[in-house]
Symmetry: D2
Subunit: 407 residues, 4 copies
Amino acid sequence: MSIDLESLYRDLHRHPELSFQETRTAGVIVRHLTELGLEVEEGVGRTGVVTVVHGSAPGEGPVVWLRADMDALPVEERTGLDYASTARGVDPSGTEVPVMHACGHDMHVAALLGAVERLVATREEWSGTVVAVFQPAEEYGAGSRAMISDGVLERYPKADIVLGQHVTPLPAGIVGVRPGTQMAASDGLSVVLHGRGGHGSRPQATIDPVVMAAATVMRLQTIVSRETDPRDVAVVTVGSIHAGLKNNIIPAEAKLELSLRYPDDEARDRVLEKVERIVRAEAMASGAEQTPTISTDHTLPPTINDEDATARVTAAFERSFGQDSVVDPGMFTGSEDVSWFARDAGAPLVFWFWGGVDPQAYAEAEAAGTLERDIPTNHSPFFAPVLQPTLSRGVDNLVVAAREFLG
Amino acid sequence: MSIDLESLYRDLHRHPELSFQETRTAGVIVRHLTELGLEVEEGVGRTGVVTVVHGSAPGEGPVVWLRADMDALPVEERTGLDYASTARGVDPSGTEVPVMHACGHDMHVAALLGAVERLVATREEWSGTVVAVFQPAEEYGAGSRAMISDGVLERYPKADIVLGQHVTPLPAGIVGVRPGTQMAASDGLSVVLHGRGGHGSRPQATIDPVVMAAATVMRLQTIVSRETDPRDVAVVTVGSIHAGLKNNIIPAEAKLELSLRYPDDEARDRVLEKVERIVRAEAMASGAEQTPTISTDHTLPPTINDEDATARVTAAFERSFGQDSVVDPGMFTGSEDVSWFARDAGAPLVFWFWGGVDPQAYAEAEAAGTLERDIPTNHSPFFAPVLQPTLSRGVDNLVVAAREFLG
Amino acid sequence: MSIDLESLYRDLHRHPELSFQETRTAGVIVRHLTELGLEVEEGVGRTGVVTVVHGSAPGEGPVVWLRADMDALPVEERTGLDYASTARGVDPSGTEVPVMHACGHDMHVAALLGAVERLVATREEWSGTVVAVFQPAEEYGAGSRAMISDGVLERYPKADIVLGQHVTPLPAGIVGVRPGTQMAASDGLSVVLHGRGGHGSRPQATIDPVVMAAATVMRLQTIVSRETDPRDVAVVTVGSIHAGLKNNIIPAEAKLELSLRYPDDEARDRVLEKVERIVRAEAMASGAEQTPTISTDHTLPPTINDEDATARVTAAFERSFGQDSVVDPGMFTGSEDVSWFARDAGAPLVFWFWGGVDPQAYAEAEAAGTLERDIPTNHSPFFAPVLQPTLSRGVDNLVVAAREFLG
Amino acid sequence: MSIDLESLYRDLHRHPELSFQETRTAGVIVRHLTELGLEVEEGVGRTGVVTVVHGSAPGEGPVVWLRADMDALPVEERTGLDYASTARGVDPSGTEVPVMHACGHDMHVAALLGAVERLVATREEWSGTVVAVFQPAEEYGAGSRAMISDGVLERYPKADIVLGQHVTPLPAGIVGVRPGTQMAASDGLSVVLHGRGGHGSRPQATIDPVVMAAATVMRLQTIVSRETDPRDVAVVTVGSIHAGLKNNIIPAEAKLELSLRYPDDEARDRVLEKVERIVRAEAMASGAEQTPTISTDHTLPPTINDEDATARVTAAFERSFGQDSVVDPGMFTGSEDVSWFARDAGAPLVFWFWGGVDPQAYAEAEAAGTLERDIPTNHSPFFAPVLQPTLSRGVDNLVVAAREFLG
């Protein structure tokens, strides 16, 4: 029996699920792993799935954790694919939203399922233990912590190495990996600005939280533009702003959601302090009677690739795919919660990117200098990896990297 | 039989309904008017109610239209009253929202029901015709137009005078009325700013609509602060701003809802042109690939009181309530759609305000210079007229003003 | 002997002098007054000039103060007049600046000289005393206080009435006057924002005062747009902003100069407090290590016309010039320091405006709705009253108003 | 005869001169070079100085250009040094300004004079030709181009290598050099925003350039914060903003001076286009009747160190000063015009930094994490290299690097 990975991928793409709601996805995973004869645990960290594959000599050899994330995003798909999503879901605030696999986690799941199948099929060739982790809620930065809180580190063999991967707008066929900081640290903040509501025709009787929010957003720009060394990486994004229900009622408060990025914890402290300073001062400038409420929704550590393990994986990739197919993609400003598995286990991590863009389209856009404009990036409503060779390379990557350690 | 107006008011207050959804309210109105022996038409302009009361000599004498509005607002009541609303409704976007009579239209309905009852009881004393109009959706600025489109002007006796009133944060016992412009003209605009979405960690691949919206809000302030004669009335309120679903996704667009106020049509043209200029230019400053979408949700004319008719009503009020109880409240920057009934009928209008604040609390706040802070204004979650004498004076106002014309 | 007023006016226009530097102007005034046989005091309040004219019965009758201001502005004239100024002066900061009579004080001086001449010529017809005051530094709001500090109120007959006038963009031939508040109160503030300087390529090592200043200017707009009753008059103008000497040095501080306007002292307190709140909070938002320095450069009271005296002057104007030539110009948002003479003397004040625009040009611009654009206003580099009938009417106004009290 | 370099340095420090006004400085240089028996050309590129030193075999061996810049800055010195500057100068706009060697060019001049002296003294030990270039107006980014326009490349032996150095806030004793991009490219822009002037109390009759400028400054922040890859270097500094002369006159225009930085020409094109887009759009948002005037004051190329030559210099430094004394300082966001000499000559360039901070003070500030705050950086009014070993190391650097090529 062999999984039809392509059809499975299209099915997952058509049925995306929001973070911590990946129950149908988990069902698909469990069914296939069970068909492979594996024991599977479901509901780990709410909706996660874990299975274990033993090599030729059970109990011996290294323990390799392979991790894929499963969740989708509140984005309305516009790819025009025949397997495009039309799904809708309900977000944590109770609002119905469109849902799309706009970050390629469906590809991650399919690739890990394919890798598990291949490792099962070749288990006589290698020794050691593979722990395959299908993690929920990466997009909330909360899924790995949820699985750890649920005891996944205690209940499963302790990792000697943690491996993970992400599909990205590189040309299909290319894998990108670098030692050291591979992805930024990140915090998600919620800020509630407290004004005073009233009638839209009588602003003088109110403290207008819309203006307070607008001034705050403009001022937050200066953290990156003026207060950060131009050579350092920092991002302050206000991804969401919400206030008011009606044009003629000045609302009582405004809510901002911020995503912050930095290369390390020192920069984190610095940026968080600046955000707080600006948010508070802008509320003062408005004459707010109540200090803004600032809360941290999630904290993601930097994704730091172990030097030695990364050198081994890189060399293995170069042997398998050719030196030209392996690049240093530079540090990414995106963030990941895969690190918690490695950090808490005290194990090294190697996390890499692999390409999903039609190589010819990529080359043309690069030549035209229109990469940013023409190649949809993760989280875009147009994000759509080409199915092949992306999928088969996703499987190969995991198998090659795992076998580097499993022999 | 006599209506228990106070209990009826409390019932209405407890069961507020959003614009064009005032079906329960209409039911309560119809039941009471029917008990008075009147013929009643329901569903006029979707949810409006109309009845006619004839005086001593049917068909003779002037026709007086008395108008009350019925709808409530998406505001979460915080008055702490034992008859406070806990109602929820669904707004036009499909979002569930709290609902509250935060503008006192429940008081308007109760007062008009009381006035109709008294006019019925005294119909032998006066001649002419009273058309009592319970209008929906004043808050959308759409209800009077809806009733007119539904033929209310053709199906009912043509008005010789249109009268209406609004409860307001003046001391209970006081009525405020002035000739000329009593309330501002107003437009409600929707603005959609089109950016380009993407991942929160890669702003350079996006056109950030949150920043575009913030810059637009800040710039819109200058219409009033720099481009309007300081002696003129103009208001540019951004009552609602919405963009994004998640901190780490930069959304593709932002939506603003604006409420604009002006004393006349000339100022209207000027302000609308400035809003459009700024909105477009700020999109250009962001490098937007698509021009913002600006649409007018509603247009309210200025509420202009007829000089002669207002003089008559003012004199009648002074005779009935004493000269000290009648004040010139100045022009209000709020707006009303009552004017359409008068404008389209070619009839004069008199629209007045009456007080709903405990006189002692008002006097104390005035002495302390804290009126704005301490006395909740219309649309506030704390707006709560004192039940009496507000309610009985609401009835008296209508009867006194109507009888001025009916004899 | 008779003054050639037109040539005198052109001479003054060609030789404007900045505030407290009006020495040449004073010389011209003194020479002409002396030729009229009057005793003249020069150097009152640094550069002011005062003379006294007695009527038929010295020591009897009322004392009328007639006041004209003398100073010009740092504006580069662009009128294209053959008597246009090309003068330059040195402002208080030591900077060389162009100088222009962009506010018409040259017209005020010429008109008062003409009026004095006529009153001297007709002194047998009237009784009482005229004190003619040529005041310096009205533009700094400092000249009347300087003359008062110099003892002008003690050294000259106590005023029974203070009269003054200002040329304005009304049609020539029109005089505008109203009882009550005629001009706004005003404060001039200096704000120094303290940042930290450094190299333009290393903003992170600095606290950028240019950004601090820009954010402050944007936020100050909200005092008028959001925090003032739309029916009230308030103006917050940042007339000057200065920071930095070179593109690649981030300066250590920025200086703003603000002009504030309000109808009364209560509004003054409110606006000043808001300005201070915003300036301080924006410095905090920048992380400034030092609180901004805010100082008041001058304070001008509201110019309030006495009800009774204004009624008399208005009636006299109507008799002399015809009812159509006298209008209520509304309250002006500009400010004046003439009030101090009346306030400190406990005398009533009447201050009026008279037109200096070619009536046909005015009518055409009014018809086209382009008054603001086409008719240069005071302080504009294009401000240029038509010589006649502006000048002769300026003389007439003073004589008519003075004779109303002098008989 | 030997130059007393320390006293010469203090003299230069006490007598700083603005760009293209370095005549006294040139005089000091010429006197000392002449005393060394060299032929000297003065007035090259207005105020530059050039001399040539021949080694043991005239006409043979490589040609090494050593370049020092000479000009000072309009900064008011606050170092408290006993040789601090109290000088004042007149900048190109005619304004008198304080002047200070706030960028250490006095140290560059002294070090090059010392190096020339040593090379003269040891000329028997080496072969080749040294061209010592004392360049004016580096701070305007104009001096090297002025010397080139004046024919310096044609009149002097063609360079085989161009060497230069800059004193910087590294610990004294440390030299920093890296292959590839060592300093950013830069443009200096002037922007004039055209509004319409008028009286400060009548903003509605004006187009306020102060608000236009403030909005522009706030929006320009987004080029770095939103439109630049967080991993790329870009700086947009508004170093100077000037508008208005008086609080109650709204001026007709505002002037901004911008300093822009980028690592390469591609980024330059991108940023310049964004600046222009924002400046134009913000003028539109203000309703400006005239498009802003944008002009480029200077353009500096990136300072790119030749790979091979830099490797040689680095190795020479390590041999002479010890490996611990040579660091890779990273790319600097500051800019230089030294490159033009190398670019136009087709010769490789090596440009390095050397430290001028007391090592103990540096170590303490580093430990406390207060480097940015406690160690004055170039262009700060507190910038003051410790005299020694900074000066002697400045001489050594040049001699060691030159001898690497001269043998």
